[in-house]
Amino acid sequence: MVHNLMPHDLYNVWIYLQSGPQLGLIITLLVWQGAAWLDRRTRHAAWSNPIMVSIAVLAAILLITHTSYHAYFRGGQYVQFLLGPATVALAVPMYANLATMRRNMIPILVALVAGSVTASVSAMMIVHWLGAPRNVVISIAPKSVTTPIAMGIAQDLGGIPSLTAVFVLMTGVFGGLVCLPLFKALRITDRRAQGLAGGTGAHGLATARLLLESETAGAFGGLAIGLNGLVTAILAPILVRFLGF
């Protein structure tokens, strides 16, 4: 009777695990470890971005095993919860760049606000013209901002935070790929300008790419990530209302 008993017991364990947080949490950590390993092995190739790989693998697992996102998130929420303190933690690298920031305050603020408005308004207008509904238009507004802040903005505006997370990722991957060729084409050679543009236009993923080229660009990128989060959190609600969405 063993061959009858075994699947039944396993099934019970499966049901038990599915109802608790362990499975979702562990699978997230395991898949992340695997993706991080792949990223190191491929020397940080653009296609092996561990965030994208992890999301793709986990999404495939959910779809194949017919597990609902709701069930997965019982575990995933513990990882996601840390986004709040991590956002607050961005204050530490910002503090480290405070002196540089003070010296270039006006140029930084003007360029950053211009970039933030350009990113939000152009993205919202294009998807709106191409027929996207309001919740998609709202969700794309903070797409240049780092994920934890972007999701918070989307939530507050009545968008779909997980859709925003996908838009933020697409923006980061695309920005990381095109930033250096674009700067070359536009003759933007100032490392401070490159960093600020990367952090404002395509958050951490472009900044990580620029950091490989120059420390200065990396520092300005880090600064821009935090500042653009702030600026967009303040401006996006105003822009959404102004544009009538």
């Binding site: 709040g84 010296r103 152009s122 998807v127 996207a132 802040i149 505006l157 300008a193 600020l196 543009a197």
Partner: protein, 113 residues
């Protein structure tokens, strides 16, 4: 480590309370970031413990995005229905934002090196 995390969470909590009480559409953690920055300025820099904890958190920032991103399984329909709009909007708006920010910053900061 626990002390640093407690301080981060307290900043986040106060930020959330202020944002809700004032009715500002700003995420609580973002206001928490500002409070933390003010705290660091008053304290003239982070403690060693805070430095180490925030570094660990920020170095593994990518992992923290993953559960939200997996939410894509619930949005596949929306993505498919708006695929063209998204495929056009993301690259164009990203190129514009990178170009505008970079060109303006280079022009405005040209005098100071």
């Amino acid at each position: 480590m626990i002390g640093a995390i407690t301080l981060l969470l307290v900043c986040q909590l106060i930020g959330t309370i202020i944002a809700h009480a004032a009715g500002w559409p700003i995420p609580g953690p973002v206001l928490g970031l500002v409070l933390m920055l003010v705290w660091l300025i008053i304290r003239r820099g982070p403690s060693d413990q805070m430095q180490a904890t925030t570094q660990t958190l920020l170095r593994n920032l990518g992992l923290l995005f993953v559960p939200a991103g997996v939410g894509i399984v619930n949005e596949l329909g929306v993505l498919r229905a708006n695929a063209l709009a998204i495929a056009v909007a993301i690259p164009i708006s990203t190129l514009l934002a990178l170009g505008v920010t970079g060109a303006l910053m280079q022009y405005l900061a040209r005098s100071e090196r």
